[in-house]
C-alpha cells in the first residue's frame, strides 16, 4: 500500500466557505472520496472557546480536555475533505450514523496539537454508501487521540459486499435522569463547535431536510452523555456511539447508564426512557 499523500494547511479552513461548498448536494451516483489527508500542525487550543464548550455540554472545566472537544478540533478538516473537488460525497444530507474515538492519555488544554484527517471507504450500505472520516491528533509525535466518524450518503453507490451490521440492542429499563434541551441549544453548540449546518438552528432549514423542527447536533448529545460520566471515566478510554434517531429542539430526553467491568453502557432516550436516540459505550484502555 502506498503512503497516503498529506496536504499541510497553513491555517484552519474557513468553515463557512467550506460548508457552502460541502452543502452543494452531491449526485446520486457512485461515491468518490479524496485519497489525500489534510493536516494542521501546532494548533493552539482556544481557552475561552473550550470553556464555553464545557459549559454548553455540561463538562466541569478542567485542565484535561474531554475527547469530544478534540473531535470538535478535527471537524473543520472533515468539512475541508468533503468539500474537495475529488469528493463526490457532499455534506448536504449526510447522516452521522456512528462514531468511535479513543483518548490514549490525558490531554491538557494548553497542549499544541498536530491534527490529521482523511476519508476512508466508501463502503456499501443498503441505503447508500458509508464514508469514514478518520482523525488523529498527535503531540510531539505521540498519538494522543484518534477517532472515526461514519457518515451515510443516502442513495449513493459504493463497490463491494454490504456488511450487515447487527442492530444495536436496547431494553427499556427506566431512566437515570433527564436533560431539558432549550430551543437555543443549537445556536450555543454551533458557536462552540463551529458546525454551521442550519438544520440545527433554523426551523426552515430543518424542514428542507425533512425534520419538523431543528435537531441538536449528535456530537452535543454524545458530549453531554460523557459529561454525565465524567468523574467515572479513566484517563485513557474508547467510546463508541450509535446515533439512532435525531433529537428535536426544544425537548426533554432521558438517559440511562449501567456499569460494566471495563466501562459503561449508556443510552439517551425519549423522556420516558422507552425509545433510544443514541447508544454510547465506553471501554477502559488496557
Amino acid at each position: 500500500m502506498t503512503a497516503r499523500p498529506v496536504v499541510e494547511l497553513s491555517a484552519p479552513p474557513d468553515m463557512r466557505a467550506a460548508f457552502a461548498r460541502a452543502m452543494v448536494p452531491g449526485g446520486k451516483g457512485s461515491a468518490r472520496i479524496p485519497r489525500t489527508a489534510l493536516a494542521l500542525r501546532d494548533v493552539a487550543q482556544d481557552g475561552a472557546r473550550y470553556a464555553e464548550y464545557s459549559r454548553v455540554c455540561g463538562f466541569t472545566l478542567r485542565d484535561q480536555v474531554p475527547p469530544t472537544w478534540l473531535h470538535v478540533l478535527t471537524f473543520p478538516l472533515h468539512l475541508a475533505v468533503l468539500s474537495s473537488r475529488q469528493s463526490s460525497v457532499r455534506l448536504a444530507g449526510l447522516v452521522h450514523v456512528s462514531n468511535t474515538m479513543t483518548i490514549h492519555r490525558a490531554v491538557a488544554a494548553d497542549e499544541r496539537l498536530d491534527i490529521t484527517v482523511h476519508a476512508d471507504g466508501p463502503r456499501p450500505h443498503r441505503r447508500g454508501a458509508l464514508v469514514d472520516l478518520v482523525g488523529r491528533i498527535d503531540v510531539d509525535g505521540e498519538t494522543v487521540w484518534d477517532g472515526v466518524s461514519t457518515y451515510l450518503a443516502s442513495g449513493m453507490q459504493a463497490p463491494g459486499e454490504i456488511e450487515e451490521q447487527p442492530k444495536p440492542e436496547f431494553e427499556p429499563a427506566g431512566i437515570t435522569g433527564t436533560w431539558r434541551l432549550p430551543a437555543t441549544l443549537g445556536r450555543r453548540y454551533r458557536d462552540v463547535s463551529g458546525d454551521p449546518n442550519p438544520i440545527h438552528t433554523s426551523a426552515l432549514a430543518a424542514r428542507v431536510f425533512g425534520f419538523r423542527r431543528p435537531i441538536i447536533h449528535g456530537m452535543w448529545t454524545h458530549a453531554r452523555m460523557l459529561a454525565a460520566l465524567e468523574s467515572r471515566l479513566p484517563d485513557a478510554y474508547r467510546t463508541d456511539v450509535s446515533f439512532i434517531r435525531p433529537v428535536s429542539l426544544p425537548s426533554t430526553v432521558g438517559y440511562v447508564l449501567s456499569a460494566r467491568e471495563d466501562g459503561f453502557d449508556t443510552a439517551v432516550t425519549d423522556a420516558r426512557g422507552d425509545k433510544p436516540r443514541l447508544l454510547l459505550s465506553t471501554f477502559k484502555k488496557q
Binding site: R55, T176, G177, T178, W179, R180, R188, L257, S258
Partner: protein
Amino acid sequence: MNHNAVVIGGNRTPFAKVGGKLAQASNQDMLTSALEGLIARYGLAGERLGEVAAGAVLKDASDFNLTREAVLGSSLAPSTPACDLQQACATGMETAVYISNKIRLGQIEVGIAGGVDSASDAPISVSDPLRRILLRANAARSARQRVKALSAIRPQHLAPKAPSINEPRTGLSMGGHQAKTTVAWEVTREEQDEIAAASHQNLARAWDEGFFDDLVTPYLGLTKDAILRPDTTVEKLAKLKPAFGGPEGTMTAGNSTALSDGASAVLIASEEWADAHDAPKLATIVDSEVAAVDHPGGEDLLLAPVAAAGRLLKRQGLTPADFDFVEIHEAFASTVAATLKAYEDEDYCVKVGLEGAIGAIPRDRLNVKGSSLAAGHPFAATGGRIIASTAKMLHEKGPGSKALISVCAAGGQGIVMILEGI
C-alpha cells in the same frame, strides 16, 4: 478538654406555606426573629456567645454573611461571631454538629445552631449567557467597550431563572427521584397516606397539649404552623391526584412536603455553662454521622441516611431497640416508608457497606409529635425544629432515654444524630 454538648432549648417561627403569612419576610428577617425568641426565652440579650452557625438553602449571593447580619440585627452582643453553613436540607443538622463539636473540644462554651429558608422570597437569577455578558460589560474600560459587550444581549437571554430544586446531575426533581424509589421499594399509596395522616394528627395533638409553647414564637401574626390540617384522614388523602410518578404515581401533594417559609434556632452549651447560668439541660448531643449515595449512578437519592445510621449505631454499640424516639424527616411520606424498609433489608444494607440489616424501627416511636408533612419544611430550618423538639421529648421521658434523628438531603446526602435525655 472534653466536654458534653447539651441542648438548652430551641425556638422557631411557626412554619408557613409558600405565599402565606411569612411571604414578605426575607431569610434574614425570619432568622433574626427565631434568634430573638431564643434570646428572650433564655435571657441572652447583650451576651457574647461563642458562635452562631446557621444557613439557608435558597440564598442570594448578596446574603453571603446571612447569619452574621442576623446576629447584628438581634439583641446578642455585636461581638458574637457567626458563620453560614449549607448542606441542603441537612443544613440545620450540620450547624448543630459544628457548634456541638466546638463545645466538646472546649473551643467555645455556648452557641446557637439554626437555619432558615424562604420559598416565597427565593432569589431569581439571570440566564448564564446574560450573566457573562453583564460581567464583560462590568469589566469594560471604556463606554465603547461596554456598549459593545451589551450589544450581545439577545431576547432569549432575558428570561429570568427561578431557583431550581432539580438535581443538577440528573435533571430530576426531588419528587421525580423519590417516585423512582417509591416504585423500586414497592411503597404503596396506603402506606404513604397513613404516614401523612399520622403526621398531621400527631402534630395537632402536640399543639393542643401545649408542647410547642416554649419551642415556637409567633411571627407576623402567625401563631401556629399554617400547613397543619388537624382533620386530615387517610380517607381524605386518598382522594388527591398523583403529583409525581405520572398518572400511575402514588405520591400526592398530601403525602409530599409543601414548599415552606420559616426559621429555627437551637441553644447548645457545655454542661458547665448550663450549670453556671442555671439553664435547663434537655439532652446531650451524643454523636452524628453523614453519608452520601451515588444518585447520578442510579441509586436512591434520599436513602443516604440508612448508611449513616448503620455506621453511627455500630460506632455507638446501639440497636434500633435502644431508642425511645426515632425522628425521620418526612421529605415525602414515601421517603420514610422506604427508609424503614431499607433498615430491614439485608441486601441493601450490605450494598451500602454495612455488615447486615440495621433492624426494624417500632412504628409507635416514630415521629410521635408529627414531622415535616404536617409542620412544613423550610429546608435549612428543619434540623433545628427536630433537634429542639426531640431534646424536649427526651427530657420529659427522663435521663438516659435516647433518640435517633435522620434527615435526608439533596445531592444524595443524609445525616443522622443521637441525642440522650438528661
